[in-house]
Amino acid sequence: MGNLFKIAIRNLRRYRRRTILTSSLITIGVIFVLVLVGVSGSFKNMMIGQMTDSMLGHIQIHRKGYIASIDNLPLTMNMKPQAVKKLEGIFKQIPEIEAYSPRIKFGAMFSSFTETTNIRLNGVYPEMEMKTLPLLASRISNGGKEIRKGEIIIPELLARGMKINVGDTLVVIATNKDGSVNGKQLKVGGIIESVTGPGGRDGYVHIEDAMDILRMDEMEISEIAIRLKHFDRLHAVYNTLYTLLSGELNKQGKPAFEVHTWEGLSPFYNIARMIDMMSIFIKAMLIAIVLISVMNVMIMAVYERIREIGTIAAIGTLPGKILSMFVVEGFLLGIIGAIAGNILGTGIVYVLKLLRITFDFGRQTGLVLSPTVTMTDILMISLIVIVVAVLGSLQPALKASRMEPIKALRHV
């Protein structure tokens, strides 16, 4: 095997300019892929982080059927205290859960005494909500960063449209689950920016104020948002929760709860998937670059060395060995391109990180791009390049190994 490599290396050196050109092409391809994977991965992670850390949490649990009618925010589909207690018991069994936050979600009208509009309100325990959504406080642009009793945090666009400022008094009116209407005066404690841009109508109140407005005798929870210690454990924890909760049945013998990761709750998951698809397309382009360049160079190598092939075949070299000689050359071209591309690509990603390039996402401005490449990315890209280089050299190598020595020796 060592001799095959020795001969292959010398043949690559023999056609030095062609080797440099081909491996440079592969190197450039690897650099592009690494930079794109690093940058798009950073953008995707930041986007997911914004969604999960300031609005959704990583996982949410609802009473079965709630998500299907979530636009109505049905109070009749809230979870009873016993159910919530049961869930809290389950959460304690899962060490990957860092925090959770029970929420009462309801639709309400609010009036500034001169104007009235509708709002979606989240009644939360401020401390639990902030632990579950660590970026929530950063969205509250004016006023305090907390959600105090007797106060309401209202969406920025509604505040601007109705000319409401921090400290103003509002009346919030809502219909409870029995159909009776109740209202409560609250002070504007802060203005909250939307994560996704214009149109956000989600406000926050203290959970006890929500209970007052809805005249709840006992706390009935609409959803529980969960934050994990490590985001990469998302699907593992989801599966654990799903398994544990599928055993919890309602009176009709059907599952009492439904579990969703953020992916099932946000349309931004599709954007994340599009970014992944884009990475796949770029990798496909890399495959094409490597395949075409290696195949081209190996076809030329075989064509130029027909008499040599005839000679080694005549003196008894088996077709398999002739095939190996050319495949090893392709393999080495892949290795050279992969190593050079990974070194340069990682270097460029590091420089981009140092440059601290900023971008905007929704209402969030000045987000710093922090591209990174993981060892998995590097290994995956290297594997693709090397495998494709070998595949690219296979056809010319097969041609060489199947050559009739007598015809090859006659070749001029």
Partner: protein, 237 residues
């Protein structure tokens, strides 16, 4: 038992729609350790005959036995294995591998064809380098040595696997007369030293005289067979 036994062999080629008979019913026997030459004008069938003996091609008709093996029965892989074990080749254009040194070119068949252990390889290569007078050039590449030296390396490469037979197709065609004579002398010396049968084709009359058995070919037939020290008419059978 003869090393090579050809019985009424025929070789036809098809060029487009035209059938060309390159060898036309040739029979002969060649004993071990012979020093044989095929002579004849261009197109007489010398190279075709050497290709058939070398198992690079198979006859259209007739029987051809080399080292007791019916070469017609060999498939591609078996043919390669047979050549690697029994036959050495010397080419008109030397056909050394340009990326390998003189030493490595001679060593090549031992690694890639016969899988000989390193120590034995070194012994055999050094012995042949010495025998062909190329010890001092062992680290040079083919483009750093003369034509005569290249052919000496080719002779060594052909002999390194201890073959029963070495086939040389116009081995002196690209050499000046003096060097050509030296190469033929070297081949003869190697035959004496290693007891290997040498068959070479040539159209150079001065070189022909160095062979001990001379077959004259014309239009794919053996017109004459001469042995040194006598003249035996060997008409094609």
């Amino acid at each position: 038992m003869a090393l090579i036994k050809a019985e009424n062999i025929v070789k036809d080629y098809r060029v487009g729609e035209v059938l060309i008979r390159a060898i036309d019913g040739v029979s002969f026997e060649i004993e071990e350790a012979s020093f044989v030459s095929f002579v004849g004008p261009s197109g007489s069938g010398k190279t075709t005959l050497l290709n058939l003996i070398g198992c690079l091609d198979s006859p259209t008709e007739g029987n051809l036995f080399v080292a007791g093996e019916d070469v017609k029965e060999l498939d591609r892989r078996e043919g390669a294995l047979f050549r690697g074990k029994n036959i050495g080749f010397i080419f008109q254009d030397f056909n050394l591998i340009p990326v390998l040194t003189v030493y490595e070119n001679i060593e090549y068949p031992l690694i890639m064809v016969q899988n000989v252990p390193a120590r034995e390889r070194e012994e055999r290569v050094m012995k042949l380098l010495d025998a062909v007078g190329m010890l001092e050039q062992e680290n040079k590449y083919p483009d750093q040595i003369s034509g005569g030296q290249k052919q000496r390396v080719a002779v060594a490469r052909a002999l390194v696997t201890n073959p029963k037979l070495v086939l040389a197709d116009e081995p002196t065609a690209n050499l000046d007369h003096k060097t050509a004579y030296m190469v033929i002398e070297l081949m003869k010396k190697m035959r004496d030293e290693f007891n290997t049968t040498f068959i070479f084709s040539t159209h150079d009359q001065k070189i022909v005289g160095e062979a001990e058995i001379i077959y004259t070919l014309e239009d794919g037939q053996i017109m004459d067979m001469r042995k040194k020290g006598g003249n035996e008419n060997g008409k094609s059978l």
